[in-house]
Amino acid sequence: MVKETKGMKTIWYFVGFILLIMGVLVAAAGFIDYVTPPQDQPVLAHLHTSIWWGLIMIFAGLIFLYVSKGTTVE
């Protein structure tokens, strides 16, 4: 049975949404650490991973949002 349910957003919309928000927060933390480096630095801190990983998450989130744009679950 395929049930008709008008307007229900797909799970991919929510995945895109959370990745976008989390990506923004992680990248923002990375920029703050870059501008004002904390006293206790983790191993490999010089890679500034939060910045580029946050940007990758933003990119992934935008892709999911774009793909799920306008689609609803039947």
């Binding site: 949404f17 959370i18 927060l25 933390a29 490999l44 939060s50």
Partner: protein
């Protein structure tokens, strides 16, 4: 002690996740209008959605922490849980068992036992499963509070009540659909939140080859040292792995545990249902990149005094579960720490939501409707599902407090798990493939299998029985004993079911059409699809990758 310090952005990341999952539950509530919506997510999911949820229901934080810690303890052999201990069973479920499950339109695994055998077998399994899920859910909650207190210094009661209340609210609002949605969100958070642990470890140590060259030889192979149990970290032979883990525990869990199979039932059609475990199998095979390599990285770092890395110790014993949190604390800067902790929290909460959504379905359909209120309407069952969710969470909290005051209960969880799943797999296998297996054979076979599994656990625990008799070897670990106990429980259930069936009354063939393989029309098993759409095609690809991985890491 507190070993991970959170900054304010980390707190915002965690708070965002809590708000997000509650928002999903609220959003989906308006689409949850019938019992089928609540318990089976309206049977509208694609194979991708159902497949990722199928995998994620199994991918709790306990698994992530535990398997990384187990790799530290046992080495590469833990990868067997992800490969031989999962893939053949998942593919078998997809190819051979799913047509019976899905086509018979049952709503739960005990539901299949009802139509194939009888009501008493269904109720027996329903009760056993309901008790098991609540205990597992409670122990999960206990473990989560323990982890959060140990690594983050959070208050025990607050972290337990806040996460339990969050799960209760979003599952009560929209049932399996919200559980599935949050499981998929969890899947992505785990990959984005924990993938970098392994990447950082490889970067710091130098390369993957360097990691393998620096762990003890007995810890770096998968099969080549399995002929002699004294030569591998798990102290087990290949037979114990193949029979106990690869056959009984794996097939028992992946093909009969309603927690995971329920996700496949939510698929929109038979093909999507069959593709569900196949899609999951590809991602299951990839998980050792985080947990196994992470555990090996922890071994290499702990062997190097210059690294300053050492597992936590409690009363002189290593806390293996601290491996993954210690790696997060070592490598992650602010922001990423919040993401890593959120991934673990999401794992705990999604695992609990999975248990509760499976419990409320089995309680409502296989106990309440089957025994207490046979004429309940769809709306009444929907209401009962919501009540069962809240009550189930409250019982889980009581179990968690019980575990806190009586820590050895954790040991019994392993027994309970093999107590329910290992014998049930023998019952299901015989039920689906042998038409003359009788209802009484199934019922008493199941009771003897469950009883023997529990007895063997107690006998070894209290030394009524020497463990070497169970494991057929002078060398064995706790894990080896678990594998062998599952094998013996399965064998006893299998044998007793056959013996009793030979002397008791069969069900007429007319009542078994579509439920047993030789009474099912081939068209319902092998759908007429082009090759590239056939589940068998993708199952073959998955199986080839599985073989290649085993040979490569031999």
């Amino acid at each position: 002690m507190e070993m991970i310090r959170l900054g304010y952005i980390d707190w915002i990341v965690i708070a965002t996740y809590f708000a997000f999952v509650l928002g999903i539950g609220y959003y989906l509530k308006k689409f949850t209008t019938s019992d089928e919506d609540f318990f089976l997510a309206g049977r509208r999911n694609s194979s991708w959605v159902a497949g990722l949820a199928f995998l994620s229901a199994n991918l709790g934080a306990l698994e992530l922490l535990g398997m990384t810690g187990n790799t530290f303890k046992y080495g590469m052999y833990v990868a067997h849980f992800y490969w031989v201990g999962a893939i053949p069973a998942m593919l078998f479920l997809a190819i051979y068992m799913m047509p019976f499950y899905y086509s018979s339109r049952i709503k739960s695994i005990p539901g299949y036992l009802k139509v194939r055998f009888d009501e008493k077998t269904r109720v027996l399994n329903g009760f056993a499963f309901a008790i098991m899920t609540l205990l597992v859910s409670g122990i999960n909650l206990y473990a989560m509070a323990l982890v959060l207190r140990t690594f983050l210094g959070w208050d025990w009661d607050i972290s337990m009540w806040v996460s339990a209340a969050t799960v209760a609210i979003y599952v009560a609002m929209s049932g399996l659909m919200s559980a599935i949605f949050t499981e998929i969100v969890q899947f992505f958070l785990i990959w984005f939140g924990l993938f970098l642990v392994t990447v950082f470890g490889i970067v710091e140590i130098g390369s993957l080859e360097e990691i393998f060259s620096r762990v003890p030889e007995s810890f770096s192979a998968l099969w080549s040292n399995s002929a002699d149990p004294s030569q591998n970290g798990m102290l087990i032979t290949w037979a114990g792995i193949a029979l106990g883990l690869g056959f009984v525990l794996s097939f028992g869990y992946w093909t009969t545990d309603f927690l995971v199979v329920q996700r496949a039932f939510s698929a929109r059609d038979l093909r999507a249902a069959r593709m569900t475990p196949i899609v999951a199998s590809f991602f299951k095979m990839a998980l050792p990149f985080i947990v196994i390599i992470g555990g090996l990285i922890a071994i290499v770092l702990s062997q190097d005094p210059q690294s300053g890395f050492a597992l936590l110790q409690e009363e002189g014993r290593l806390n293996y579960d601290s491996a993954l949190p210690l790696l997060i604390a070592r490598y992650y800067p602010s922001g990423l720490i919040g993401l890593g902790v959120t991934a673990l929290l999401a794992g705990f909460m999604a695992g609990q939501a999975g248990n509760i959504s499976a419990f409320n379905t089995v309680w409502t359909y296989d106990i309440y409707k089957a025994v207490i209120n046979k004429k309940a309407s769809s709306q009444h069952l929907l209401w009962m599902g919501r009540i069962a969710t809240v009550v189930g969470i409250l019982i889980s909290i009581v179990t968690a407090y019980w575990a806190k005051s009586f820590p050895t209960i954790m040991d019994y969880m392993q027994a309970i798990f093999s107590w329910v799943n290992a014998p049930l797999f023998a019952t299901m296998l015989l039920g689906m493939f042998v038409r003359w297996i009788t209802p009484n054979g199934a019922f008493w076979g199941l009771i003897s299998g469950m009883g023997s599994s529990f007895f063997l656990f107690m006998a070894v625990k209290f030394e009524w029985l020497d463990r070497t008799i169970l494991t057929l070897s002078n060398y064995s670990s706790d894990m080896a004993a678990n594998f062998w106990r599952a094998w013996w429980a399965w064998l006893i259930c299998f044998t007793m079911t056959i013996l009793i069936s030979l002397h008791t009354k069969r069900k007429p063939d007319a009542e078994l059409e579509g439920l047993v393989i030789d009474l099912t029309k081939p068209v319902s098993i092998t759908e007429k699809l082009p090759v590239l759409k056939k589940p068998e095609f993708y199952a073959l690809i998955s199986f080839i990758i599985f073989i290649v991985l085993n040979i490569y890491f031999w």
